[in-house]
Symmetry: C2
Subunit: 311 residues, 2 copies
């Protein structure tokens, strides 16, 4: 979702774009995401775990959006070694390739709010403790630290973002292991009810993928951001149940039902999360522009049109 | 050094001890370290990268001192993937083995002051930022987070320590990639001068290995320490040059010489580091007991006697 949105916007702005994607079945790779730009881009089917392939792709790049990853925090806990291979080893290999190529490219790394894990206070600033509740969160933290280290030790121009709850067109819709807002849209479009645990009052910071992509462009283009890490969200918390009702309103006839929390709550997210976005808005002119209602409407519209490409 | 010291003390206190060590040439494995307890312990030649072997060793253990590691921060930067294999993958495998075995054993994990990297203030408490300046530091941080995660998610009884500058008998003496105090003792015993970069005023927190081992026993035995991480040092900073003069005084005739800092200082440690040990001394009755002068004297005495086993 994020990579193809960036690619779409980059092509529109006149950039030459290469996409490297492993198209792993569990994640969101979908060639339909490149609708309209297939002929404008170069597509490399490959994996950041393949060091030689990564090396071959670095020369000539000016901006590298380093988004490859195992993206399910649920799966990271059941298969920590796979998460390690992709989210740690893969990114070390990207950075080693960049170091060896002496590239001047800006590298923009996608980290996650999951580095914070259990939240001590809201809104969460970048100095919040790392109470990681998942292997995914631990490895995203390591990833950020790699990108910072390669900046400080070797002068690579790296910057990281801790993404809140992204949603929008082009996300995979085959399973619910990540991206609950999009999953609720699928359920709604199928006429199924949306299920809320407990009172659904936990706040989330849902950011529309185009806003997110614009922020990553802004940070990549700004000169003073190397070595830094920024929260990337809207700065606004929306109760989970309110999000569900917004989805239901966008797909008339959708029911919202509330049930008890499951017995084993550890792996189910609880508690609030709202990004403090003061650091990023102080560094670049970017602001989130898409209200949640509008973003949901655009996402619903997208999947109404292209449902058969994602289901 | 640390593992064999713990083994010696554990045998003395009547424990049944199994040692698992890969005896990798670059690190400190040395069978002479087990002098006097060879017949009292079980020794398993093996590597935490071998998941099946690790699994086979968990049943029956009450205390697991999880010290296996790639231990050179210098080498971690030149070979980050090896560091990843041992310090991340290896420890995930230890924890997975413990989870699957449903062990009730206490696990004591050796992390490092290197998680702090560039120091913002002294003394350094556990809330200090993680300005990791090495892959080693990043992976020790990940390691701590694994041990905490497996405690919170699966109930394993884990605790981590961030070790300052350990020194003492039984450390490897073949190279200077880690353990500078011991290395200075080797140079002194060989009649070579001790070289100081710059004014040598940077403070370090040198902790004698027996004090360190006692702290790890204390944390492992205390019931309330699971899920926690503690600084483990003396709480006292000693200027680098003062340490050198103490070594020189312990080996009469040793010269101390001062030279300019090398041009590329990034990978050379600068700045002060002193542990704030308020958290550990508040949690257990342990206190460091060995003054630096005494610890150096005991270390010099050890290597005078057993030089041929370590050179």
């Amino acid at each position: 979702m994020i990579g193809s949105t960036i690619a779409q916007m980059a092509v529109q702005s006149g950039a030459q774009v290469t996409i490297l994607d492993a198209m792993l079945p569990a994640y969101g790779g979908n060639l339909f995401n490149l609708q309209g730009i297939h002929d404008a881009i170069k597509f490399v089917l490959g994996d950041i775990r393949d060091a030689e392939l990564v090396k071959s792709q670095i020369p000539g790049m000016d901006y590298i959006f380093s988004l490859a990853g195992q993206v399910s925090y649920v799966d990271s806990n059941t298969d920590p070694l796979l998460d390690l291979e992709i989210n740690c080893k893969g990114h070390i290999q990207v950075l080693e390739a960049c170091r060896q190529a002496k590239t001047k490219a800006r590298l923009i790394f996608a980290s996650s709010r999951f580095v914070y894990g259990k939240i001590d206070y809201n809104p969460v600033d970048e100095g919040h403790p790392f109470n990681c509740l998942s292997i995914y969160g631990i490895h995203k933290l390591a990833g950020e630290k790699y990108y910072r280290f390669y900046h400080e030790a070797y002068g690579l121009e790296t910057v990281s973002v801790r993404i809140a709850n992204p949603y929008g067109p082009r996300q995979q819709m085959k399973h619910s292991k990540y991206g609950i807002l999009n999953w609720f849209i699928r359920l709604a479009l199928e006429g199924k009810p949306l299920t809320i645990y407990g009172d659904g009052r936990q706040g989330r910071d849902y950011i529309f993928v185009e806003d997110l992509a614009e922020a990553m462009f802004a940070l990549g283009l700004a000169p003073g951001t190397s070595g830094q890490v920024y929260n990337l969200g809207t700065g606004t918390g929306t109760p989970f149940i309110e999000m569900a009702h917004l989805v239901a309103a966008a797909v008339p006839g959708t029911q919202v039902q509330q049930v008890e929390w499951p017995a084993d709550r550890y792996f189910v997210e609880t508690g609030d999360y709202v990004s403090d976005i003061g650091k990023i808005t102080g560094a670049v002119a970017w602001r989130p522009r898409t209200a949640l209602k509008e973003g949901i409407a655009r996402t619903v519209d997208y999947y109404r049109r292209y449902r058969e490409k994602y289901w």
